[in-house]
């Protein structure tokens, strides 16, 4: 039971990219929230994600051992080198789309992070996770709260957030589908088995959807590719915007 340095690095990169790309997406809500209070709330969520990305990518750089920093990894990799789930790179859509995506992802991320906090294979990751667990507990609660309000709200808000769920659902399979990166991590106890993770996710998502009077879509064909660097057509634009300053002014500081 062992994991190569390369596999360990790939796994941490995958974790860091999830947080980084979602943080970049959420950051775009700054100044565009439906109300001032929620505008600040979304920005807080974005900052939590960026904070997690910084620590995770720094840890990834340490494990890789090539001297790459969090900034090198965030700003100087090409699209094909990013290993995030497709779900987090999808466009924000409307407020309901963003909160539904956040519910689906942060509930998953929370349970994954709880496991990281308790494992002993990677102690620095456990320390990162201990903090992130508290943040993600708030993320999933806040998202669940809004999904319930929208789903169980007016006829229009119900229909719109139901269609958000339908559009996003085919991107949830990738969270649990077997993948070599996850398999290696699971071997050394870094990850719980996918069925365990999915059961924990189901146990939280189902009651929220029920309270929101939403219908859980049937599991059909699922998109995948993020963990192999094969992204949606939206990813290039996201990276172009996120990386443009760093690439225009290499090594600049303030």
């Amino acid at each position: 039971m062992t994991v190569t340095q390369e596999q360990h690095f790939a796994f941490l990169l995958h974790l860091g990219d999830d947080a980084l790309v979602l943080g970049q997406r959420l950051g775009a809500w700054c100044g565009h929230g439906p109300i001032l209070e929620e505008d600040i709330a979304l920005t807080n969520l974005a900052l939590d994600c960026i904070g997690q990305a910084r620590t995770l990518l720094t840890r990834a750089g340490q494990v890789e051992g090539q001297g790459r920093t969090e900034d090198d990894l965030a700003y100087l990799r090409e699209e094909r080198a990013f290993r995030n789930h497709l779900l987090v790179e999808l466009p924000n859509g409307d407020f309901g789309d963003t909160l539904m995506r956040h519910l689906l992802y942060s509930t998953f991320a929370y349970h994954r992070m709880v496991h990281f906090a308790g494992q002993t294979f990677d102690q620095p990751l456990a320390e990162i996770a201990a903090r992130a667990v508290k943040e993600l507990a708030y993320h999933k609660a806040h998202a669940a709260d809004w999904v319930i309000r929208l789903g169980d709200g007016t006829r229009e808000s119900h229909d719109r957030v139901q269609s958000s769920l339908l559009r996003l659902w085919p991107y949830t399979g990738e969270l649990f589908l077997p993948h070599p990166v996850d398999a290696a991590a699971a071997e050394v106890g870094l990850l719980p088995p996918a069925p365990v993770l999915q059961a924990a996710w189901d146990a939280e998502i189902n009651p929220v959807l029920e309270a929101a009077t939403l219908t859980r879509p049937a599991d059909g064909w699922m998109h995948r590719g993020g963990k192999d660097g094969v992204h949606t057509e939206h990813m290039g634009y996201l990276l172009a915007e996120m990386q443009s300053i760093a690439r225009s002014h290499p090594g600049a500081t303030w």
């Binding site: 929230g33 109300i35 001032l36 209070e37 709330a41 807080n44 708030y138 806040h142 309000r149």
Partner: protein, 97 residues
Amino acid sequence: MATQPTDWPLWEIFVRSRQGLGHRHVGSLHAADAAMAIQNARDVYTRRQEGVSIWVVPAEQIVASAPGDKEALFDPSDDKIYRHPTFYVLPDAVKHM
């Protein structure tokens, strides 16, 4: 902002700081109900480690003294300085006076 939350009630927010003994009024915000008011207060008023506890109160539930009653309410205490604890030595054991 795309729309104004004109139909959401106003809430007054009170936060107890780490060192503070009581909740202090920090501001107000709009929210549809108490649960949302707590979440919004957390996001708006405790971003910089300001608090360990939050109270939210519907603004309409607060009864304020009338500005016109100011003289009758507060001026009579102007000439009663003996009400201040300045005429005797406080024992060291008494804290938070």
